[in-house]
Amino acid sequence: MSTAKGLNLTLKVWRQKNDKDKGQMETYQVSDISTDSSFLEMMDILNEQLINEGKDPVAFDHDCREGICGSCSMYINGQAHGPSREITTCQLHMREFKDGETIYIEPWRAKAFPVIKDLVVDRGAFDRIMASGGFVSVNTSGNTQDANSIPIPKADADKAFDAATCIGCGACVASCKNSSAMLFVSAKVSQFALLPQGKVEAAERVQNMVSQMDEEGFGNCSNTGACEVECPKGISLDNIARMNREYLSASVSANKQ
């Protein structure tokens, strides 16, 4: 015996054919959606309905559907990943909505994330920032020292882990009024800055990553904190403070050419 109920909903969904199209909101009705369904299962039902009506289904990014791959990227009722905290869109369940409700569904909106189609955006800028310095320059030969040869204080390891849980979804950028990518970049900078293995090239890393971030057209950080609130993994603003310290100290010590 299930406690699930069937919801009838009005959906206002952003439709855009490609990056050149202007795009517009379209209205759809869906009915008898189980409250146990996930938000993306509701989107599947909408798409099945559209296909059966001979219409083009709504394109959206999704893959793991368990909140870890970072693919899904919907702006729901004015919030990245919808109304609940610390979850991705795929973890959002329909029990968060009321029967008869109207739901607005839009893509991430940022200059650095151009729309590809409907709700799908291009987050390649994040990959390029990573390629500019989001790594430790050690080859994968396996001929490194024993994993336990450098003890790492548990507190540092835990903080590095917390920063490293970023899934690169881009909710921070979408939520920020300046479309800043500081939370994303600072999470990677912090993870490595907190570990002895990453400290070696910390100064160069932070300068390269920040410079690539600027080049991609992300805005500045004005410490509003919307990114932290909307981050599905609860990445802390402390990381931005740490990155700023790292960046400042790298700039003044500047042994970079």
Binding site: M1, D44, A59, I68, C69, I167, Q191, F192, Q197
Partner: protein, 669 residues
């Protein structure tokens, strides 16, 4: 009929890999710059291979269907990665990891490959730490370990419940470094549509740009398939929505044998299905079985009351609970291997003791209340609260559990709206991993020369059942430490070949085939969606080719799948066009391949008249419901050769020889 040569090096098992490495041909650094390698898939296997090959100096082209290599489904692995480090001093060794893996795989894996895997496992941990992977540590600053099913040592390294994520991001970092240098050319949102063979050798692929729809030609001196498993043939699984068999199936159709398709892992601890609208299933890490106890009501009437919503688990007295794993398997208890735990859950549910409140009633409890009290008491002792109240102890224990499994508990609560700190979790088995895959020799080369297959996509290391925390180990072992050696030996013959042109007749023919199929889908304008067929296939697979298989069921499944496939080609409806992003078109191509694989899968299961690991035939079981293996007749790998229809596939056998481990009936009692 060709004979299968697994190319296992001579010599004692412990020396094989070392001797092999000492005797292979190498490619000098200058020559590597003239050699191209294609890697399809960017999970732990593909990502680590791409990064390492690029570091060595080869020109790598890497492909993934996702928008970034960081999203491959390895990212969702939760519990951990095994390595024979013996940091705990509890008796672990390379041999023991090797032994556990062969035994866990129910004696259906290749000894030499498994030994090599165990041997390089320790390098993986060293490597990942050097890359900045933040593994869990103890208060002394050293790495922490936990236990997984089917073993009696603690050899699993972990990063909370996000180990796969941290390892994949480590891989992605290494890849990013090479992408920045231009040594890896990354093709995101691209799908491999076919492999191109020239003079019998793999020389390139046809790929589709999923944004523009453009069909592209890419050439290389070798092609590496690292596209993961095919669990989505069941429609509902814990795999990512996009996970598919197509890359492996395309090489199969061009000459690569497909091995043991019926070996599928049904993971015991997943969140039960909620209803027909469900799109995928979610795993709860096996690590939870370190502390969670699995039970169902001992009385049928209690189970009925729970299913009807008239009773709560907490109201059932300790004496009326059946901790059936602890009862049936006292020495391994809740930590029996996955296949054993899954079947036991099904047995209890089928017998009427299931506690699911959904339509199926299928679920068992995974209960943390005992662990919460145990840890709480320990904390109370440490802090000197010797007269702590039950509530205080509970709060302290909850804290410990939260630190260990916080993200998993949160995930459970989000999906089910139940608080697992307060009430027992409900779990049920679900399709999770496929041990079968493209057949490879010791070099990880398929039966197509120059075409390699690594990670979950190949068949080699896990036999008929994979132990927990071994998938990550195999992916990284293949990509970081095995393939880079074996592929070099092959490529040493290609130092004078030069760039392979893409305008020859082989590429033309492959492009035409791909284009024809896409045109067919777009123009067919049938009456049913791709998902309609995928769901039907999934139902047949789950009911007849799932946890329990019978001759009659399998024969029925084969006929039914064939019929669904015929209907698919008549009635499938793919909306939209082929010159822009079209997810339905992508799905259509993948489901077309699943519909062929599904039939071969059932045929393989029918052919294997024994029960082993994840393959359980009702005709071959003991009175107690335990699997009955038949080593006399079935100690071989089934490698299928493509001949058109799945019914025409030809079976080749690789005999499995056990020289270092004695074949025994697997017992966890």
């Amino acid at each position: 009929m060709t004979t299968l040569n697994s190319k296992i090096p001579e010599g004692p098992i412990a020396d094989k890999w070392t001797n092999y490495k000492n005797n292979i041909n190498l490619v000098n650094p200058a020559n590597k710059r003239g050699i191209d390698v294609i890697v399809v898939g960017t999970g732990l296997a593909g990502g680590s291979a791409a990064a390492t090959l690029a570091e060595l100096g080869y020109n790598v082209k890497a492909f993934c269907y996702q928008d970034s290599p960081r999203r491959a489904h390895s990212i969702a692995a939760q519990g951990g990665i095994n390595a024979a480090k013996n940091y705990q001093g509890d008796g672990d060794s390379t041999y023991r990891l090797f032994y556990d893996t062969v035994k866990g795989g129910d004696y259906r894996s290749r000894e030499a490959n498994v030994y090599r895997l165990a041997e390089v496992s320790t390098n993986i941990i060293d490597q990942c730490v050097a890359q900045g992977v933040p593994f869990a540590r103890d208060y002394g600053g050293l790495l922490d370990n936990r236990s997984f099913g089917g073993v009696q040592v603690s050899r699993t390294f972990y990063a909370k419940g996000q180990t796969g994520q941290q390892l994949l991001l480590g891989c992605y970092s290494a890849m990013s470094r090479q992408i920045g240098k231009g040594k890896i050319k990354m093709y995101n949102r691209h799908e491999m549509m076919d492999i191109v063979k020239i003079d019998g050798k793999a020389r390139g692929i046809i790929a589709r740009n999923l944004v523009t729809g453009e069909i592209e030609r890419h050439s290389a001196h070798a092609v590496v398939i690292a596209s993961g498993g095919y669990g989505n043939v069941f429609f509902l699984s814990t795999n990512a929505m996009g996970s598919n068999v197509s890359a492996g199936w395309k090489v199969h159709k061009k000459g690569a044998y497909f091995a043991n398709p019926c070996y599928t892992q049904i993971h015991p601890t997943c969140i039960p299905q909620h209803g027909d609208q469900q799109s995928k299933l979610t795993l709860m890490s096996e690590s939870l079985r370190n502390d969670g106890r699995i039970w169902v009501p001992g009385k049928k009437e209690d189970a009925e009351a729970i299913r009807a919503g008239k009773m709560k688990p907490i109201e059932i007295a300790e004496a009326d609970r059946d901790y059936y794993l602890e009862r049936r398997y006292p020495s391994f208890g809740n930590l029996v291997p996955r296949d054993v735990a899954s079947r036991a859950a099904k047995e209890r549910s089928d017998a009427g003791f299931g506690v699911g409140t959904n339509e199926t009633g299928e679920a068992v409890y995974l209960d943390f209340s005992a662990a919460i009290m145990r840890y709480g008491q320990e904390q109370a002792n440490i802090h000197g609260h010797h007269d702590a109240s039950k509530e205080k102890i509970q709060a302290l224990g909850t804290d410990v559990i939260e630190k260990k499994y916080g993200n998993l508990f949160q995930m459970y609560e989000k999906i089910t709206a139940d608080d697992p700190y307060k009430t027992a979790m409900k779990i049920y088995p679900a399709v999770h991993y496929t041990m079968g895959g493209v057949w490879v020799d010791y070099n990880l080369m398929t039966t197509i020369e120059g075409c390699y297959c690594i990670g979950e996509a190949n068949f080699s290391d896990h036999g008929a059942n994979r132990l927990g925390a071994s998938a990550l180990m195999q992916g990284l072992a293949d990509g970081y430490f095995v393939l880079p050696y074996t592929i070099g030996d092959y490529l040493s013959n290609d130092i004078r070949t030069g760039t392979i042109p893409t305008d020859g007749p082989e590429f033309d023919a492959a492009v035409k085939d791909v284009q024809d199929k896409i045109d067919f889908f777009i123009n067919n304008k049938g009456t049913k969606s791709v998902d309609h067929f995928h769901k039907r296939l999934g139902k047949v697979m789950w009911n007849q080719v799932g946890m329990e298989r019978s001759e009659e069921g399998l024969k029925g499944a084969i006929a039914e799948i064939k019929q669904i496939r015929e209907e698919f080609w008549k009635e499938v409806n793919v909306p939209g066009t082929n010159d822009s992003m079209n997810p339905e078109l992508e799905k259509a191509g993948r489901v077309a391949d699943f519909l062929e694989l599904g039939e071969l899968f059932a045929r393989d299961a029918l052919d294997r008249e024994e029960s082993c690991g994840g393959h359980f035939r009702v005709e071959y079981s003991t009175d107690e419901g335990e699997a009955m293996r038949d080593d006399k007749h079935f100690a071989y790998v089934s490698a299928w050769e493509y001949k058109g229809e799945p019914a025409d596939a030809v079976l080749h056998k690789e005999e499995l020889k056990y020289e270092n481990i004695e074949l025994k009936t697997r017992s966890y009692k």
